[in-house]
Point group: none
Chain length 236, copies 4
Amino acid sequence: MSESNKPTRGRDPNRRGRRGPVNGQATGTPASQRELRAQGRRTMRKLLDAGMRVFAERGYHAARVDDIVRAARTSHGTFYLYFASKEDLLRALAVECAQEWTDLAASIGPITRDDAGFEELRRFLGGFVGTYRRYGPIIRAWMEDQGGDREIGRLGVRSFTAIASALGERMDEVGAPHAVDSATSVAALMAMLERFNYVLVSRRIDVDDDVMLDSLARLVHRGFFFGAERGMAASR
Amino acid sequence: MSESNKPTRGRDPNRRGRRGPVNGQATGTPASQRELRAQGRRTMRKLLDAGMRVFAERGYHAARVDDIVRAARTSHGTFYLYFASKEDLLRALAVECAQEWTDLAASIGPITRDDAGFEELRRFLGGFVGTYRRYGPIIRAWMEDQGGDREIGRLGVRSFTAIASALGERMDEVGAPHAVDSATSVAALMAMLERFNYVLVSRRIDVDDDVMLDSLARLVHRGFFFGAERGMAASR
Amino acid sequence: MSESNKPTRGRDPNRRGRRGPVNGQATGTPASQRELRAQGRRTMRKLLDAGMRVFAERGYHAARVDDIVRAARTSHGTFYLYFASKEDLLRALAVECAQEWTDLAASIGPITRDDAGFEELRRFLGGFVGTYRRYGPIIRAWMEDQGGDREIGRLGVRSFTAIASALGERMDEVGAPHAVDSATSVAALMAMLERFNYVLVSRRIDVDDDVMLDSLARLVHRGFFFGAERGMAASR
Amino acid sequence: MSESNKPTRGRDPNRRGRRGPVNGQATGTPASQRELRAQGRRTMRKLLDAGMRVFAERGYHAARVDDIVRAARTSHGTFYLYFASKEDLLRALAVECAQEWTDLAASIGPITRDDAGFEELRRFLGGFVGTYRRYGPIIRAWMEDQGGDREIGRLGVRSFTAIASALGERMDEVGAPHAVDSATSVAALMAMLERFNYVLVSRRIDVDDDVMLDSLARLVHRGFFFGAERGMAASR
DNA sequence: TATGAATGAGTGTTCATTCAT
DNA sequence: TATGAATGAACACTCATTCAT
């Protein structure tokens, strides 16, 4: 599918050979690439934050560079001093987000059948929800991608996979009754987590966080980790 | 915030913009509104199909009216003879899709603990996957909505709710051990189904359909309908 | 009938359509709304002038934004940086024109029966012709309006009324023999002035300005201000 | 000015060699050109009337062929069976209108200083108003023309001139005190009549017809035909 | 380092006119 | 004689990106 035909507008850098930095100014060399002084770092942060806010409000596609620079109280020129493109800003935010995911993945302890396991699961889910709350727009942009920049997509997949693997391991180590194949179970769990959080965040379901986390943790603990085995239709 | 600011281009706000059937050449009065002869119906179908294809390939936003008319081997003018806008085409497809969802919702029989219940669940999931395969792009457009046409969004929510309710009833009637609150359970289940299918369809996970359906059915049967109760961390 | 259905093309009704300052790049926020630096003001002036020229050549409706930007030696983008739409440019020009009208209205002194009065009238008419020459296309756009932007229409009516009132007062104060009712007289006078100038400017009647002004002033002085009363068919 | 660049849309017949009648069907051969049977004449009349109505509602430019055929309860195809283009319909209506003007011009009797002359003038003005009421939209289209079809413009000018000449003659024959030059007087009178009627018809000034006609006749009788000569600023 | 101004390819939509039946 | 369907050039407007200061 998706021959990577992304609609670009105005000067399309892909079509006409990205000219790279033009005059003296190292235009758009993103983040860490250039040494930034205090002021520079401050401006960059302003843009990143503004990006988050605007992406959250409008979604990545609908967000206009102009919205972002206005939110950051800067100018177009400045934007392109720090980011090569709108997508580059997304990428930068995605990197931040990916870091959080990875940390979260690394922090998952064993999920046992008892209360301690439940608590651990609940803690993890709390972290998941927190990250999603903060980076929801970015994550959504990952998923909606559909032919945009492959690199960002990969970043998302990697982060997701990190968590999925961690969860998978925890399931295996307690002999979670995988419904036939482990991949499907984990995929289903991840799918549920992602979309559940999406609904939670965007459609603003008004459930108390504590209650909701309890429900979700219970659901996962029972449904995915320690599903019932007796008295049911037999596995094939 | 974000008062439904979606970037579309080129619509005349004065003459036709304000939604609904208009005047010029009965332009864009969709489907049922105008009486169509055989040829007209054929062309409309061509456009609907082309729309599905193109939305599938590029996603709704990235899809260009030009792509659609090329795929349908017609002209721009013809397109606007049948649909008031690109969004109107989406709406028309959404209506078709909503019908399938509703039918599917109505068809869910009791999900018992035994093999029959499992089979019923599996059958339903099969239908779900099928519909998602056919209308995936539309459903995705629903979800990505983010400030587009509220009407289409509502249509999606309604369809989704229909299924969710049906599933909820089936869960209640067998006393499924809701993880604290029923709403969360159902929401989680729906979330999982939606996103799981999304991944399935878009990222083309290569699992045999039969195997995957088995896994999924098992997972839902156990995890959501007949989750284990004994020997686990107690519900609070 | 005809609820203000004017055919424009290509405006996005969702994002910017609903009139007034918008967001994208502070696009099209006209004149006074944004602070402009020297260069900005220059460009804006260029566009206003080009607009006048093109409207004069083709008329408002037939004028293409493309013609205007070509005449101004700028780009489409730049145009929309200063004006929200073609109509907005018309509005801006209309405001300038309205100012001239208003000033002109304020400047009308007493029109007496003697030479001084005649001269005053002639001076005023000279101003009228001058303004019409400069802003003819705009005035014509006002009149042709027919369901376009009500606001612009009102602006025109206000300006016109200002002059009409001033003339009416001058007529009353010398007891001009209103042909039955004052409103009709003034309306007729204004009608004559407007259309006479229209013909003058557009169809380029080749009369020497001085001669023509003399004729016109004489006509108005006699016909409208000091029409004969004796020996004629009696007023009813 | 006005390089006669009329914006055409779709298949522009001027740009690509008007192909003339295509297959067997004598498409668009207007009115009198073809022998029409009863039904044909009826359809043609329906279209002419619908044209008048729609032009009146929307103005010529804003009127869509579709509006017209819908008003006439016919189809696009039929329209082009009787008229070669939208403009051709205008032309046909213009011919009808020109006939009325010409008849009106021929009917103007001597305008004497006494009551009989006043009555004659009033009668003529009544006819003028009547014609304007019926054909206002057409007349307006004439005036707004600005680079459209020269032929239609000429038709209008001819009709107008016919009346102007007749009036001019009547003025000369009673020695009306032309304000310096006759051409200006007549031009001014015509200008006044046209625009006054325009305002009357379009802006729907609510004056009783009888009263208004009286005022207008009085005004013209006095102002243009028998302007005061004594005690005023001397003619130069 | 920062900024306001400029650019122009790209997009959705319109509507006069022609075609096929 | 009539019609519904089809066409596609034309147009207004957008917005990511670059330029000049």
